[in-house]
C-alpha cells in the first residue's frame, strides 16, 4: 500500500471524506455521477460518500469513479443515539459492518420484526452506540459535524464530558478515529468551536481531520438543495428561509482541494489527515457480493447431485423415461456448466419457489432467457421445450465473467399477480427475514414530480402545479423546463419574464436525473446464505416488505444474482377461468396440454377478435395480426416479439408481414443464415438469432456470442457494441466458410445487427408469452364465459376496462348479468342458462362502486352464514350503511327481490334505518318513475363502470343517423380512402413514443370498435377533444389494408350527451 504521507505529497492536498449525494434523499442534490465528475474536474484523487443512512449511491459512484479516475470511499452518516457521526469503510469487513449498521438503523431489531407493524422506523434511522461498538472493525469513525454529540458538549462548555466521550470512542476505534472539524464561514462560534475541537483532539491524542460535508456542486444544485430542504420541513421556500432551515450560505458546495488548502492555511494537519484516511480506506464492488443462498439438500447429496436428480426426474415427466440423445446431451451440457459456475443452489432456490407455488395451486411460469434452458424446463420452472424449439442455452447462461465473477443467470418467474405475495412470504420464511429482501427501484425525477415538487416549494397552489405537470408527463425535468419556458407557464397564467418564475423554471431543470424515492421492484428477490444486510443495506417498505438499497442495474454491476418473482395478470386470469370450467364441467383444463393446432382459435386470432387475450390484444397487435393471420403457435411467438418499439422503428413489421403472407420471398445474405433466419422470414427478430449469426459466421463460442449480445439493447453501451461488431466483422471475414464472407457482406451483416441491437427480443421470452397468449385465445373460443370471468376477476390487468370487456363479451354471445346479492358473489360467477354449454356471466359485487373491501367483507361474512332472503335481510345482516345500500340498489344488486332499482333503494334505506325492533318503521309504498333505457345504461356506468343493458352510444344513435354518421359495422363495407364521419365513446387513447406525436383513439359503439388516427399536426388544435372528450365525432378518410381499418381524422368534435361516469384508458 502506498503510504498515506506519500499520497498526500504526490496527489491532491485534500480528500473530501464526507460528500453527500441525492441518495441522502432530501439532503443532497447531485447524482453520484455528477459528484464524481465534479470531483475529478476539481482534481481530487479520492472522495468519500457519506449519505445519510444510505449506501444506495455507492455503486453508481464507483462505476463513475472508474471512468473518471477517482477513488471512491464508501461511507455513511448515521444517527448514533440521535446525533450524527460518519463512518468510512477501510476494508471488506469494514464495509460489511457499515452495511450492517445502515441496515440496523433502517429496520431495527430483526427478531422483533413484525410485518404488520411497519413504518415505525421509516424516516428516523438510528443506531445505538452499543451497535456501533459491535460493528466497529474495519471502520474509520469521524466524530460528526457541528450538530454531532462531541461538538455539542464542546459548545456548551462541558470540557470533561467531551474528553470522556472522545476517550470512549478511542477505546473502541483506536487509531481509526478522527475528530471532524468543518469551517463553512457561518459565524464566529463556528470558528471558535473548530478551534476548541482541535484542542480537544490534541488533549485526547486523536488526530483531527478537516471535512467539508458538501451537499451540492454548483449554484443550481444549491437551489435544488434549498427546495428539497424546504420540502423536507414541509414548508415553502420563503417560509424555510425565514425559519432558518436552509443553509445560511452556499458553502456546502464541493470545494477544490486547493480552495480547502487556502481555507485551512496554517492548520494543514487536518488536510493531511484527510488524505491519510483516504489512503487507508479502500473499496471494491466485490465487497458487496453476499454469499449465495445455501440450499438445504437431503443427506448424502450435494447441491449439484440433488439438482441433477431433480432435473432427471423432471425430464422423465416432460420427455418420458427414455431421453433422446439431443435431450440428454443438452441436460449434461447445462448441468456441467451450472456445476462449474457453482449455481446449483441458485437453480434449486427457484425450483423450490415453483414447487411451493404449485403446491398452493398458484399458476406460475418462467419467462425470459430462462426458457432457453433444458434444466429449467425439466425443473418445471419454464414451459418451453428448448430442445424441441432449438433455443440457444448460451443466451441464458455462459461463462462470461464480469469483474472476475460469472454473471448470474437471469431467471424470471411469473406468478398469478394477486397471489405473488404468498410466494414472497414463503421466501421470507424459508430464508429468514435477514437473509432475503426485494430489489429496490430508484424512481428518478420525471417532469411531473419535478414540476409538482418545485411548485410546491415555491408556494404555488397544488391544483395549478397538477394542471401543469399533467401536460408534461412525457418529459424529463430538463425538457419540461424548456416547455414550461416556451409554452406551459404562460398558458397557466405565469409570467415567464418574472424573475420568480425564471427561478422556478431553473429549479425544475435542476431536478434532472436526481433520485426521488426508492420503491419496491416488481419482483427481484435477493437471497443470501448470511444476513443480507451485511452486504446490501436493507430498509423497510410501507407494505411490510424489506428492500435492499440498490436497484437492478446496481445489482447487475455488483454481480448479485436476483430471483425475479413477478406478478402476471394473465396467469391469474387463466387460473380463475380454469377454476370456473372445473366447477361447471367437472374437468380442469391443463394449460400446457391445450391443443396447439386448434383451428377455431387461430381463426379468432386472425380476425383480430383478441380483446382480453394476453399480449395480442392491443390495437397495434390486432392491426398486425389481421394481416399476418397466425395459423400456428410460432406465428404467435413472432407476433409477441414483432409489435414492439424496436421492430416498428426499424420498419421490419411490413416486410415480415409481406413475406409471411407469401407476397415476397425471404432473402438471405449468406447461405449460413438460412437455417437461422428462415423461421422469421429472413428477418432477425430474436436475440438468439444474433448470437447464432455470430456463432455460424464468425465462429464464436456460445459465451463469446453472449458477450456480443450483452452489448446490445442499451444506447449507453453503443461504443461497446461498435467495437464488438468490428471484432465480429474481422472474425467473419477470417472464418473459413463456403462461400466466404466478403468484407462488403460482413459490413452489411454488422449493420443489420447494429439496427437490430435496439429491439432484439429473446425468443425464449416470446415463447413463454405466446403460450399464455394462445391459452387465453383458446379459452375465449371454447369457454367464453369463463374467459371473461377470468379476466374480470383478475382485473385490473390488460388493455381494456371492464366496460369494454363486458361489451365484447356480449358481442361474443355471452349473457352478462348485473351483480346480485341473491345469486351472485363478490367476484364474477357463472350461472346456468338453457344452453348448458353457454353459461351466463354474473358480475361480482366488487364491481359496485362504493362497495369497498370492508363492505365486501361484511357481505361475504353475512352470506357465509346463510343465503340472503330479502333486501332487509341483506341490510340487517351485513350492517350496510345508507350509502352502501344506495350503491347496491342503484347497481341493481337487489333485483332478485325488487327489479326496480329505486324501489329497492326505498326498501333498503328503510331497512338500514330501522334499528328499533319495538317500533319498526312502516312499509310505505313508493312509485317512482321507471328508468328509461338510456338512463339505465348511464346508471350502470355510474354504479359499476359498465353496462349489461347496452352501449351509451345508443342514446346518441338517432342523432348520429340524422347526421349520416357511420357506425363500426358500416366501416367494414367501406373502401380505402373514402371520406367518412364516425362517432363513438373513447375507450383507449395511445400516444406511443414511436408514433412521433400521433395519437391513436379507440372508439367504441354498440357494434364494435373504430380505430382513429389523429395526425400529429392536428393534436394541438384539437387537444381538448382528442385528449379529454368522452364521446367524439371524427370526420376523415378510411385507411384500409385488408381487414385492418382505421379512420385518419381531419376534424374532431366532442359530442354532447348525458354525462357518463367513464374514463378512457390512456397509454403514453
Amino acid at each position: 500500500m502506498v503510504s498515506a504521507r506519500m499520497v498526500g505529497l504526490m496527489g491532491a492536498p485534500y480528500a473530501e471524506l464526507r460528500a453527500h449525494t441525492a441518495f441522502s434523499f432530501g439532503d443532497g442534490s447531485v447524482t453520484p455521477e455528477v459528484l464524481v465528475a465534479r470531483a475529478a474536474q476539481l482534481g481530487y484523487d479520492a472522495i468519500g460518500i457519506t449519505d445519510t443512512a444510505d449506501l444506495g449511491g455507492i455503486v453508481r459512484a464507483a462505476l463513475a469513479a472508474r471512468e473518471a479516475g477517482v477513488r471512491i470511499i464508501a461511507g455513511a452518516e448515521l444517527s448514533v443515539d440521535g446525533q450524527p457521526m460518519a463512518f468510512l469503510a477501510r476494508t471488506a469487513e469494514g464495509y460489511r459492518n457499515l452495511a450492517a449498521l445502515v441496515t440496523a438503523s433502517r429496520v431495527g431489531v430483526w427478531n422483533a420484526w413484525d410485518k404488520a407493524r411497519v413504518g415505525t422506523w421509516r424516516g428516523h434511522p438510528n443506531v445505538t452506540w452499543a451497535q456501533v461498538a459491535e460493528h466497529h472493525e474495519g471502520l474509520h469513525a469521524l466524530t460528526g459535524p457541528a450538530s454531532g454529540a462531541l461538538a455539542e458538549l464542546v459548545r456548551v462548555g462541558d470540557r470533561d464530558g467531551a474528553d470522556r466521550m472522545l476517550a470512549g470512542w478511542r477505546a473502541v476505534f483506536g487509531r481509526r478515529l478522527a475528530v471532524e472539524v468543518q469551517l463553512h464561514h457561518v459565524s464566529g462560534p463556528e470558528a471558535a468551536l473548530g478551534a476548541e475541537l482541535i484542542r480537544l483532539a490534541g488533549r485526547g491524542g486523536v488526530p483531527w481531520v478537516a471535512t467539508h460535508d458538501p451537499r451540492y456542486v454548483d449554484d443550481r444544485s444549491r437551489l435544488v438543495h434549498d427546495l428539497l430542504t424546504a420540502l423536507r420541513h414541509d414548508m415553502d421556500i420563503d417560509a424555510a428561509l425565514r425559519a432558518g432551515v436552509l443553509h445560511p450560505n452556499d458553502d456546502w458546495k464541493l470545494l477544490a482541494p486547493g480552495e480547502m488548502q487556502q481555507r485551512w492555511q496554517g492548520c494543514e494537519s487536518g488536510l493531511d489527515e484527510s488524505t491519510q484516511i483516504a489512503a487507508q480506506c479502500g473499496f471494491d464492488l466485490a465487497w458487496m457480493r453476499p454469499p449465495l443462498p445455501a440450499f438445504q439438500v437431503p443427506k448424502g447429496h450435494t447441491e449439484d447431485s440433488f439438482l441433477r436428480e431433480q432435473v432427471y426426474r423432471g425430464a422423465a415427466e416432460r420427455w418420458g423415461e427414455v431421453l433422446s440423445e439431443a435431450q440428454r446431451h443438452q441436460l449434461e451440457h447445462e448441468l456441467v456448466l451450472i456445476a462449474k459456475l457453482r449455481f446449483a443452489g441458485f437453480f434449486l432456490v427457484i425450483w423450490d419457489a415453483v414447487q411451493f407455488a404449485k403446491s398452493r395451486g398458484i399458476l406460475c411460469q418462467g419467462r425470459g432467457s430462462a426458457a432457453n434452458s433444458a434444466v429449467t424446463y425439466c425443473l418445471g420452472v419454464t414451459a418451453v421445450d428448448p430442445v424441441e424449439h432449438g433455443l440457444l442455452f448460451e443466451r441464458f447462461l455462459s461463462e462470461v465473467r464480469v469483474d472476475g465473477k460469472a454473471e448470474a443467470p437471469d431467471i424470471d418467474v411469473d406468478f398469478e399477480h394477486d397471489r405473488r405475495e404468498e410466494v414472497l412470504d414463503y421466501m421470507y420464511q424459508r430464508y429468514q427475514r435477514p437473509g432475503a429482501a426485494i430489489t429496490a427501484m430508484v424512481q428518478t425525477y420525471r417532469a411531473p414530480n419535478a414540476v409538482q415538487d418545485a411548485m410546491r416549494a415555491f408556494g404555488y397552489p397544488a391544483d395549478l402545479a397538477t394542471s401543469i405537470s399533467k401536460r408534461l408527463h412525457q418529459y424529463d425535468p430538463a425538457d419540461a423546463a424548456v416547455h414550461m419556458q416556451e409554452r406551459y407557464a404562460t398558458q397557466a397564467g405565469l409570467d415567464v419574464n418574472a424573475s420568480r418564475v425564471k427561478g422556478l423554471i431553473r429549479a425544475i431543470a435542476g431536478f434532472e436525473g436526481l433520485p426521488r424515492l426508492r420503491a419496491t421492484h416488481v419482483g427481484g428477490f435477493v437471497i443470501s446464505a448470511a444476513p443480507l444486510g451485511n452486504w446490501l443495506p436493507i430498509e423497510q417498505t410501507t407494505m411490510g416488505r424489506t428492500i435492499v438499497q440498490f436497484d437492478k442495474d446496481d445489482l447487475d454491476a455488483i454481480g448479485v444474482p436476483k430471483f425475479d418473482f413477478l406478478g402476471l395478470g394473465g396467469l391469474s386470469m387463466i387460473r380463475r377461468a380454469f377454476d370456473a370450467i372445473e366447477i361447471r364441467t367437472g374437468t380442469r383444463p391443463e394449460m400446457y396440454n391445450l391443443p396447439t393446432d386448434d383451428a377455431r382459435t387461430y381463426d379468432l386470432v386472425s380476425r383480430g377478435e383478441t380483446v382480453g387475450t394476453f399480449q395480442i390484444e392491443s390495437r397495434a397487435q390486432i392491426s398486425s395480426i389481421v394481416h399476418t393471420k397466425p395459423e400456428r403457435l410460432y406465428d404467435i411467438v413472432v407476433q409477441v416479439a414483432l409489435i414492439r418499439p424496436g421492430p416498428i422503428q426499424a420498419k421490419f413489421v411490413r416486410p415480415y408481414t409481406r413475406r409471411r403472407r407469401g407476397e415476397e420471398e425471404p432473402t438471405y445474405l449468406h447461405d449460413a443464415l438460412r437455417p437461422i433466419l428462415a423461421r422469421t422470414q429472413g428477418i432477425p427478430i430474436f436475440q438468439e438469432q444474433a448470437m447464432a449469426i455470430a456463432m455460424a459466421l464468425g465462429g464464436y463460442t456460445g459465451a463469446e456470442a453472449d458477450e456480443l449480445r450483452r452489448t446490445m439493447g442499451n444506447i449507453r453501451k453503443e461504443p461497446l457494441l461498435l467495437a464488438a461488431l468490428e471484432r465480429l466483422c474481422t472474425r467473419m471475414m477470417a472464418n473459413d466458410l463456403t462461400p466466404r464472407v466478403t468484407p462488403e457482406l460482413a459490413v452489411r451483416i454488422c449493420e443489420d445487427l447494429r439496427s437490430f441491437a435496439n429491439y432484439g427480443f429473446p425468443e425464449s421470452h416470446a415463447w413463454s408469452f405466446a403460450l399464455i397468449a394462445y391459452a387465453t385465445a383458446y379459452l375465449k373460443v371454447h369457454y367464453a364465459t369463463e374467459f371473461y370471468l377470468g379476466i374480470l376477476n383478475a382485473w385490473p390487468m390488460g388493455f381494456y376496462s371492464p366496460a369494454t370487456l363486458i361489451h365484447d363479451a356480449r358481442r361474443h354471445g355471452v349473457e352478462v348479468r348485473t351483480p346480485c346479492l341473491r345469486h351472485g358473489d363478490w367476484e364474477c360467477t357463472t350461472e346456468p342458462t338453457r344452453d348448458p354449454d353457454h353459461p351466463a356471466l354474473r358480475m361480482g359485487w366488487r364491481f359496485v362502486r362504493g362497495i369497498g373491501t370492508v363492505s365486501l367483507d361484511k357481505l361475504r361474512a353475512a352470506r357465509a352464514a346463510g343465503a340472503f332472503t330479502s333486501i332487509a335481510d341483506v341490510v340487517a345482516r351485513a350492517h350496510l350503511t345508507r350509502a352502501e345500500v344506495t350503491s347496491l340498489a342503484a347497481a341493481g344488486s337487489f333485483a332478485a327481490w325488487q327489479p326496480d332499482r329505486r324501489r329497492a333503494a326505498w326498501e333498503g334505506l328503510r331497512a338500514s334505518s330501522d334499528v328499533l325492533p319495538l317500533a319498526p318503521a312502516r312499509h310505505t309504498s313508493y312509485d317512482p318513475r321507471p328508468l328509461g333505457k338510456h338512463e339505465e345504461i348511464a346508471l350502470d356506468y355510474h354504479t359499476t363502470g359498465a353496462s349489461v343493458h347496452g352501449h351509451p352510444m345508443l342514446a346518441l344513435r338517432e342523432r348520429m343517423q340524422a347526421w349520416h354518421v357511420k357506425d363500426s359495422r358500416d366501416l367494414g363495407q367501406m373502401t380505402n380512402g373514402c371520406g367518412v364521419t364516425v362517432a363513438g365513446l373513447v375507450v383507449v387513447r395511445q400516444r406511443p413514443h414511436t408514433a412521433k406525436g400521433t395519437i391513436f383513439l379507440l372508439l367504441e359503439d354498440e357494434h364494435g370498435f373504430i380505430n382513429v388516427v389523429v395526425p400529429p399536426q392536428l393534436v394541438e388544435p384539437n387537444e381538448e377533444v382528442v385528449k379529454g372528450a368522452q364521446f367524439v365525432l371524427v370526420r376523415g378518410r378510411v385507411s384500409r389494408e385488408d381487414a385492418a381499418i382505421s379512420v385518419v381524422g381531419r376534424e374532431f368534435r366532442a359530442l354532447e350527451g348525458a354525462p357518463l361516469t367513464h374514463q378512457s384508458r390512456n397509454f403514453h
Binding site: S187, A191, R222, G244, G503, L504
Partner: protein
C-alpha cells in the same frame, strides 16, 4: 345575495327600487324576486322567470307549487344526501315534497327532513335579525341667528349632552364616541368625532372634550344648528387605561385594552414583532398587525429550527443596527481564502481596524431577486476601540457599515 325584509311594505315596489339602486351602481345583471318564503324567493331570483322590470314574483300562497317544479339540486342538498336522492329517483323538489315526513325521516335522516321542508316551501331559516336599538341622539337648530362664539356653542351643546348622557345613563351604558355635526350658514356641515378613553355617560367629561374640540377646530362659516349622537357605546363597567401601564396584571385586561384600541383605531393599529431565523439580521423582524386573543401565529407550514445554544458567553454589548446599511469605502488585505478589511472610511474619516473576525457568509435566495443575497460580514475593532459590523455585498460589489456594538 341581498335580502330585504318587506314585511308591512309594498314588497314589489321595494324589490323594484332596490334593484334600481343596485343598477344605478353599475350592476346591470342583478335580479330581484318577491315571495312569501325565503326558499321560494331564492329559487325565483336564481332560476325563476324574470317579471316586470327584472323582478320575479311568486304569487302569495303558491310557494310550494312554485318550488315543486325545480330540480332537487336547486336546493343544494348535502353531499351525503345527493346519492341517496339519486338512488331513490327523487329528481325534483316536488318528488321529495310528495313523500311523508316519516318515510323521509327513516330513509334520509335529519338532513333529509330539513331538505324535505325546504322542498315543501316550509322555510324556517331566520333571515332577518331584530332591528338594533337606536343610539341616543339630540339636535338643535336655530334660524334667526348664527353662532360664532365658542362659549355660546358650548352652552347649546351642553344642553344636547344633558339629553344624550341622560339617555346613556338610563340604559347603563357609556359612549366611546360622540359625533358632533355642525350645520353652517354656507349650507355646509362639519362633522367632529369626540372620543373618550373609556365608555362614559359623564356629562362633565364630555363637556371637557367638547370644549377642547371647540378650541381646536376652525369652521368655515357660522353655525345654525348642532346635532349630537352617540356613535359608539358600551357598557359603562368596561375597563380603561394605558396599555403599557404596569397595573395590567392579567392578560385578559391587556387583551381587552388591545381590543379597544383596535376597535378605536382600526385593525392595523396593533402590531407585533414577528421574529424569524432569516439569515440576514435586518430581515429577521417584521411587524405585523395582530388581532387580540389570536393565538401566537406558528411559522407557516412547519417547525422553526431551535435556536443554537450559544457556544461562547453572550456578548454583553448590544448590537445597534443602522436604519439602512451605510455605504463605506474599505481597504482590504488577503487572508487565507478571503479578504479582510483593514480600514474603512465613513463620514469622510478613515478608521483603522485593529482586529477583525469573520467572514460570516450569508447567501441564498436564488429563487427570487427579492430574496437574493450574498454578504460577507466582519466584526471589527477599530483603533478607537469601537466595535463595528461591516459587510461586503457580493451582489453590489460594495462595502457597508451595518451597525456597531455599544
Amino acid at each position: 345575495m341581498l335580502w330585504a325584509d318587506g314585511h308591512g311594505l309594498d314588497a314589489h315596489t321595494l324589490a323594484r327600487n332596490t334593484l334600481q339602486l343596485i343598477r344605478n351602481r353599475g350592476t346591470d345583471d342583478a335580479r330581484a324576486a318577491v315571495a312569501a318564503t325565503p326558499v321560494a324567493a331564492e329559487l325565483a331570483v336564481v332560476f325563476g322567470a324574470v317579471g316586470e322590470r327584472g323582478v320575479a314574483v311568486v304569487a302569495p300562497g303558491t310557494d310550494r307549487a312554485f318550488t315543486a317544479l325545480f330540480p332537487i339540486e336547486a336546493l343544494d342538498p348535502a353531499p351525503r344526501l345527493a346519492p341517496l336522492l339519486a338512488a331513490l329517483g327523487i329528481a325534483t323538489c316536488g318528488d321529495l315534497a310528495a313523500l311523508s315526513h316519516e318515510s323521509v325521516e327513516v330513509r334520509l335522516g335529519a338532513e333529509g327532513v330539513a331538505l324535505w321542508r325546504l322542498a315543501r316551501a316550509d322555510d324556517r331559516r331566520l333571515i332577518f335579525s331584530p332591528a338594533p336599538r337606536e343610539l341616543p341622539h339630540a339636535s338643535l337648530d336655530w334660524t334667526d341667528y348664527a353662532l360664532k362664539d365658542p362659549e355660546r356653542l358650548l352652552f347649546s351643546i351642553n344642553a344636547l349632552l344633558t339629553r344624550v348622557c341622560g339617555a346613556l345613563a338610563a340604559e347603563g351604558r357609556g359612549a366611546h364616541e360622540l359625533t358632533l355635526t355642525f350645520s353652517l350658514t354656507d349650507r355646509g356641515t362639519h362633522v367632529e368625532l369626540l372620543r373618550s378613553s373609556r365608555p362614559t355617560a359623564n356629562q362633565r367629561t364630555w363637556v371637557r372634550l367638547v370644549r377642547a374640540a371647540l378650541e381646536r377646530i376652525r369652521l368655515s362659516a357660522a353655525v345654525t344648528g348642532v346635532a349630537l349622537h352617540a356613535s359608539r357605546v358600551a357598557a359603562r363597567d368596561a375597563q380603561q387605561g394605558d396599555l403599557f401601564d404596569r397595573g395590567f396584571t392579567t392578560t385578559g385586561a391587556a387583551e381587552d385594552a388591545v381590543a379597544r384600541i383596535i376597535e378605536d383605531q382600526g385593525e392595523h393599529a396593533v402590531v407585533a414583532p414577528d421574529n424569524s431565523a432569516h439569515p440576514l439580521l435586518d430581515e429577521r423582524t417584521t411587524w405585523t398587525p395582530r388581532a387580540p386573543r389570536a393565538p401566537h401565529a406558528a411559522p407557516t407550514g412547519g417547525k422553526v429550527r431551535e435556536a443554537q445554544p450559544a457556544y461562547a458567553a453572550q456578548a454583553a454589548l448590544t448590537l445597534q443596527l443602522a436604519p439602512v446599511p451605510r455605504a463605506i469605502a474599505v481597504e482590504t488585505a488577503p487572508r487565507r481564502d478571503h479578504a479582510v478589511p483593514v480600514r474603512y472610511r465613513d463620514g469622510g474619516q478613515w478608521h483603522d481596524i485593529a482586529q477583525v473576525a469573520g467572514p460570516d457568509r450569508v447567501s441564498g435566495g436564488a429563487w427570487d431577486p427579492d430574496h437574493l443575497h450574498a454578504r460577507e460580514y466582519f466584526r471589527c475593532v477599530t483603533r478607537e476601540g469601537v466595535l463595528v459590523w461591516l459587510f461586503y455585498d457580493a451582489q453590489a460589489g460594495a462595502w457597508y457599515l451595518h451597525g456597531w456594538w455599544d
